[in-house]
C-alpha cells in the first residue's frame, strides 16, 4: 500500500459495539477492589489514624506495607506512594482500603478518622515566592537589554487557570500476582515509566515485575506520569493480599485529585522603537503543587517555546516552578506551551492593535527562517514556511472579503511545536528501541507506545505496510507488555509518529531485503541527528529536532446582552511535514481545536483552600456538540528529513494556538483587553464596564 492511501482505522470495531474491555471491564478471578483514604487538609502532620475495629474482608494497605522505598520514581523521587507522617495536598493518598464488597469498603472508609496537626498551607504562587519555595528556575537570553534604545515599553500580565484532561475513561489499574510476578494492568501512556517506578520502589528486577497496557479511553497527558502512583499502590496491595486488586477512581476523585494543566502567570515586556519590536522580556510562573513531578519539564517546553514563531534581536526568558499545597500538576497536551503561547500570541495581537497595524502583517517582520538562530541559540535546520502559511490562512478565511459585522471579532495565532523530547532527551534519556518481527506472512510491531484514541496503531501500521509495500492487514500491533515489547519510550511529546514511526520505517527498510525469510527480527535504536547539538546545563542549542507549525484564525460572536460567546469558525493552516493519514490528522485537528476552545472560553477550574472546586461534569464545562464551530483546516507539505515519509509531530500542536486566537477574537469584538482565560461572560462584563 502507499502512504497516501486511505485506510479505515484498525482498532474501532470493538469500540463501537462495546466489546472492547477497558480496565474497569476486565475480569479477574477473585478480584478485590480498592478505595483511597485521602488527606482532607492541604498541609499538616498526621498525628494518628483511628481505624475502626478490624473487619473480616477488609485489608488496609499503607506506607508500612511498602517493602523497599515509599517513593514514586519520576524525575525526582519526592512524592511518596502513601503519605506517612505529613500530607501536602488535599486528596493525598494515605492508604488503600481493600476488599471484595464495595459497600463494605465504603462503610469502613467512612468510619476512619485521621487526626492532624494543621500547618499553614501555601496556596498561591505569590505566597510561595515570598517563602522562597521556588522548585526550579531557568533563564536564557539572546542579545542584551543593556543600553537598548527604545521609544516605549508595552507591558502586560497574563493568567491561565487549571485545565482538566477529562479523558472519558477515568484512571484505573489492576495489580495481580501472576506466576510470582507482580503484574500491573492499567490505562496508561507510558508502560516503562510505570515499570521503572515499580522496579525502584519494590527493589525488583525487570523479570519480577510486569506492566501491561489496558485499552485506554483517552489520556491527553493525564495518564503520562500519574498512573505510576496508582500502579505502585495496587502492586503493594496485591503483594500483601496475593489477590488481584483493582483501583478505579470515581469521577470526583479523578477531577479533584489527579494531575492537571499548570495554572500560570506570564509577564511580558516588549521594547518598541519606531513602531518595531526591538526586544522582548518574558517571565512565566507555574504552580507545580507540592511535588515536582514533571513540572520542570513542562516549564522547559513553556520557555523553549516562549519566542513563538519569531526571532527578536534581544530576548530574555525566565521561568519558574513554584511549590504550593494545591493539587499537583502535570502533563497535558501541549505541556507548558498552551500557557506560554496564550500569553505571547495574545500579547502580539494586543501589540498590533496598540500600534494600529494588521496582526498578520505585523508578525511577518519577525517570522523565523531556516538557518536562523533559535531562542536557545540553536539553528533552525528545516524549511520554514510561515509567510506561505499566513497567506494560506488569509485565503482560507477570505479575510480580505470580510464585511463589517456587529458583535463579531477575529483573532489569530501562529504556533511552533517541537516534536519529541526537548534537547537531547530522546538520545540521553529515552534511548528508544523498536522491534519489527516477521513470522511467516505477518509483521509484528513491538513497541511500548500505546493506542489511546489518537490512532497510533493505524498510523504506525500504515508506515510499516507502506515501506514494505504489503497489505496493512499483514501488519499486527502487539499490546504493550513489558515482557514482550522493548522500551520505545513514552507515548507523549507528539513523538509517536515522528520518532517511533521513524524508527519503524527504518526497521521496515531493513526488513525489505529479508521478506523471503520465515522469521526475522529487526532491532532499531534511536540515533540523534548530527544537527541536534544541546547543552542541558546551559539550555543551549537545538531545543527540538524539528518543529510543526500552525496558523489559526478564530471568528467569534459576542452576545451584546448576555456576553455569551459563540465561536462560529476556526480556520487553521498546519505544517506537520506530511499527514500519515489525512483522516487521522483531521481527527487530531478537530479534537485539539475543541479542547483548545474549551481552554480558551469554557473550562473554568479553580481551587479554594487547596480544594479543586470544579470536580464534576456538571460544574466543569467542556465543549458539547452545541459548542462546535465550523472547522476549516488545510495543510502544507514540508517533509522532514528524519520523519517517516517526512512526517513531523501532530497531537499537541492542534490545541496550542486555539485559546489565544479565540481570546483575541473576543477582544476584537468588544474592543477591550482581557488578560486571562477562560474568557467567560463574567470577565467580558467586567471588561466592558471597567472605568
Amino acid at each position: 500500500m502507499k502512504i497516501t492511501d486511505h485506510v479505515k482505522r484498525l482498532d474501532v470495531k470493538e469500540k463501537i459495539n462495546g466489546s472492547l474491555r477497558y480496565i474497569e471491564d476486565m475480569r479477574f478471578d477473585d478480584l478485590h477492589y480498592a478505595r483511597t483514604l485521602r488527606s482532607t487538609i492541604p498541609k499538616g502532620k498526621i498525628i494518628s489514624i483511628e481505624y475502626p475495629p478490624p473487619e473480616k474482608g477488609i485489608t488496609i494497605v499503607d506506607a508500612s506495607d511498602v517493602c523497599h522505598k515509599n517513593e514514586v520514581a519520576m524525575i525526582l523521587k519526592d512524592m511518596p506512594i502513601f503519605a506517612e507522617d505529613t500530607v501536602n495536598y488535599i486528596g493525598e493518598p494515605i492508604s488503600l482500603i481493600v476488599g471484595k464488597d464495595k459497600n463494605q469498603i465504603i462503610s469502613f472508609i467512612n468510619k476512619i478518622k485521621v487526626n492532624y496537626e494543621i500547618f499553614e498551607p501555601t496556596l498561591t504562587m505569590e505566597d510561595s515566592q515570598s517563602k522562597g519555595d521556588i522548585l526550579t528556575e531557568h533563564t536564557f537570553s539572546l542579545g542584551s537589554f543593556e543600553n537598548l534604545e527604545y521609544d516605549e515599553r508595552f507591558e502586560r500580565t497574563y493568567e491561565t487557570g487549571y485545565q482538566e484532561q477529562l479523558y472519558m475513561e477515568k484512571q484505573g489499574v489492576v495489580g495481580a500476582m501472576e506466576d510470582g510476578v507482580v503484574t500491573v494492568y492499567g490505562s496508561m501512556q507510558c508502560p516503562y515509566y510505570v515499570l521503572n517506578a515499580l522496579k525502584y520502589a519494590l527493589n525488583k528486577e525487570a523479570h519480577e515485575v510486569r506492566v501491561i497496557q489496558a485499552p485506554t479511553g483517552g489520556a491527553f497527558g493525564g495518564k503520562e506520569e500519574y498512573p505510576s502512583l496508582l500502579a505502585l499502590q495496587v502492586a503493594v496491595a496485591t503483594m500483601k493480599l496475593n489477590k488481584p486488586v483493582r483501583l478505579v477512581f470515581d469521577r470526583r476523585e479523578d477531577m479533584a485529585f489527579t494531575t492537571k494543566r499548570h495554572p500560570s502567570k506570564s509577564y511580558i515586556k516588549t521594547y518598541i522603537k519606531d513602531k518595531k519590536i526591538v526586544g522582548m522580556d518574558y517571565e512565566i510562573h507555574l504552580d507545580a503543587g507540592p511535588y515536582l513531578g514533571l513540572s520542570d519539564v513542562v516549564l522547559q517546553r513553556a520557555i523553549f517555546t516562549m519566542n513563538g514563531c519569531y526571532g527578536f534581536e534581544n530576548s530574555r526568558v525566565n521561568g519558574k516552578t513554584f511549590k504550593t499545597n494545591n493539587v499537583f500538576t502535570g502533563a497535558f497536551r501541549g505541556f507548558g506551551a498552551p500557557q506560554s503561547m496564550y500569553a505571547l500570541e495574545l500579547h502580539m495581537n494586543q501589540l498590533a492593535n496598540y500600534l494600529n497595524v494588521d496582526p498578520i502583517e505585523f508578525r511577518k517582520d519577525y517570522f523565523v527562517h531556516k538557518g536562523e538562530t533559535t531562542s536557545t541559540g540553536g539553528i533552525f535546520n528545516e524549511d520554514i514556511y510561515l509567510e506561505e502559511m499566513a497567506d494560506a490562512l488569509i485565503a482560507l478565511s477570505q479575510m480580505h472579503h470580510r464585511k463589517e459585522e456587529k458583535h463579531i471579532g477575529y483573532g489569530v495565532s501562529f504556533i511552533p511545536h517541537g516534536g519529541g523530547f526537548t534537547g537531547d532527551g530522546e538520545a540521553v534519556h529515552i534511548k528508544a528501541e523498536v522491534h519489527l518481527k516477521k513470522v511467516k506472512e505477518n509483521i509484528y510491531i513491538l513497541i511500548s507506545n500505546v493506542e489511546m484514541g489518537q490512532g497510533a496503531i493505524t498510523a504506525l501500521s500504515k508506515i510499516v505496510a507502506s515501506v514494505l509495500d504489503i497489505d496493512i492487514e499483514r501488519v499486527l500491533y502487539a499490546i504493550p507488555d513489558t515482557f514482550k515489547v522493548p522500551d520505545s519510550g513514552p507515548t507523549v511529546a507528539s513523538r509517536t509518529t515522528m520518532v517511533v514511526g521513524g524508527l519503524l520505517a527504518k526497521a521496515a527498510e531493513k526488513m525489505k531485503a529479508r521478506m523471503d525469510e520465515e522469521e526475522v527480527l529487526i532491532v532499531e535504536h534511536f540515533k540523534q541527528p548530527d544537527y541536534v547539538v544541546w547543552n542541558q546545563e546551559k539550555l543551549h542549542g537545538n531545543a527540538y529536532m524539528a518543529y510543526s507549525w500552525s496558523a489559526i484564525m478564530a471568528r467569534v460572536h459576542v452576545d451584546p446582552v448576555t456576553y455569551e460567546v459563540t465561536c462560529t469558525d476556526i480556520y487553521g493552516v498546519y505544517d506537520v511535514g506530511i499527514p500519515i493519514d489525512e483522516k487521522l490528522l483531521l481527527g487530531q485537528i478537530h479534537g485539539g481545536v475543541i479542547q483548545g476552545l474549551g481552554y480558551g472560553m469554557l473550562e473554568r477550574m479553580t481551587s479554594e483552600g487547596g480544594q479543586i472546586q470544579h470536580h464534576s461534569f456538571s460544574n466543569y464545562v467542556i465543549p458539547t456538540t452545541e459548542d462546535i464551530p465550523n472547522i476549516h483546516a488545510k495543510w502544507i507539505e514540508n517533509r522532514f528529513v528524519d520523519g517517516p515519509f517526512g512526517a513531523k509531530s501532530v497531537g499537541e500542536l492542534t490545541l496550542v494556538g486555539v485559546a489565544p486566537a479565540i481570546a483575541s477574537a473576543i477582544e476584537d469584538a468588544i474592543k477591550k483587553e482581557i488578560h486571562s482565560i477562560p474568557v467567560t461572560p463574567e470577565k467580558i462584563l467586567e471588561a466592558i464596564h471597567e472605568n
Binding site: R9, V12, K15, I16, Y167, M168, E169, G217, G453, G587
Partner: protein, 156 residues
C-alpha cells in the same frame, strides 16, 4: 429483594435493592460492559441504554424504576441491522478515537433518527448534546450522521 425485568429480550430475575443503579446491575451482574460509567451524574451519555424504547442514562436509574421494563444495551443493539449501518458510518467517517463514549453515542444516533427522518446539523447538535466526547471534537460524528442521512437511513 427479587427484581424482574427484561434484559436484551430475555426475562431476568435478580436479587438486588431498589436503590442500586441499573448501570451497576448491567455491568456487574450480567457482565455487559459495553455500557460505560463516564460521570455518574447523567451528564455524559456513556451509560445510555434503551428502557422501554426510551433512551436513558443508566447511572441515573435506580432498579426500582426498571422493574418489569425492557432494557436494551449496546451488546444487543449491536446485533441488529439498524446498528450495522451506524457502525459502518462511524468507521468510514473516523467518528471513533478512544471509543469510551462510542457505544452511548451510537445509541443516541439511533434515537436521533427516531425523532427526525433526516436530521439537519442543528438537530444533530441538539440531539447529541447529552453525549460528551473528549477526543474527536464531534465533527466526524456529525459527518457519520450526515452519511446515514445521505444513505436514506430510517429508524425502524
Amino acid at each position: 429483594m427479587k427484581i424482574d425485568f427484561i434484559l436484551n429480550g430475555n426475562a431476568v430475575s435478580i436479587e438486588s435493592t431498589y436503590t442500586r443503579r441499573l448501570l451497576d446491575v448491567i455491568r456487574e451482574d450480567f457482565d455487559l460492559t459495553g455500557t460505560k460509567e463516564g460521570c455518574a451524574e447523567g451528564e455524559c451519555g456513556a451509560c445510555l441504554v434503551f428502557m422501554d424504547d426510551l433512551l436513558v442514562n443508566s447511572c441515573m436509574v435506580p432498579m426500582a424504576n426498571a422493574v418489569g421494563k425492557s432494557v436494551v444495551t449496546i451488546e444487543s443493539f449491536a446485533q441488529t441491522e439498524a446498528y450495522k449501518s451506524i457502525e459502518n458510518a462511524f468507521m468510514s467517517s473516523g467518528a471513533v478515537q478512544c471509543g469510551y463514549c462510542t457505544p452511548g453515542m451510537v445509541m443516541a444516533v439511533y434515537e436521533l433518527f427516531k425523532k427526525y427522518d433526516a436530521p439537519t446539523l442543528q438537530q444533530v447538535k441538539e440531539g447529541l448534546s447529552g453525549n460528551l466526547c473528549r477526543c474527536t471534537g464531534y465533527q466526524m460524528i456529525f459527518e457519520a450522521v450526515a452519511m446515514l442521512v445521505k444513505e436514506g437511513y430510517r429508524y425502524d
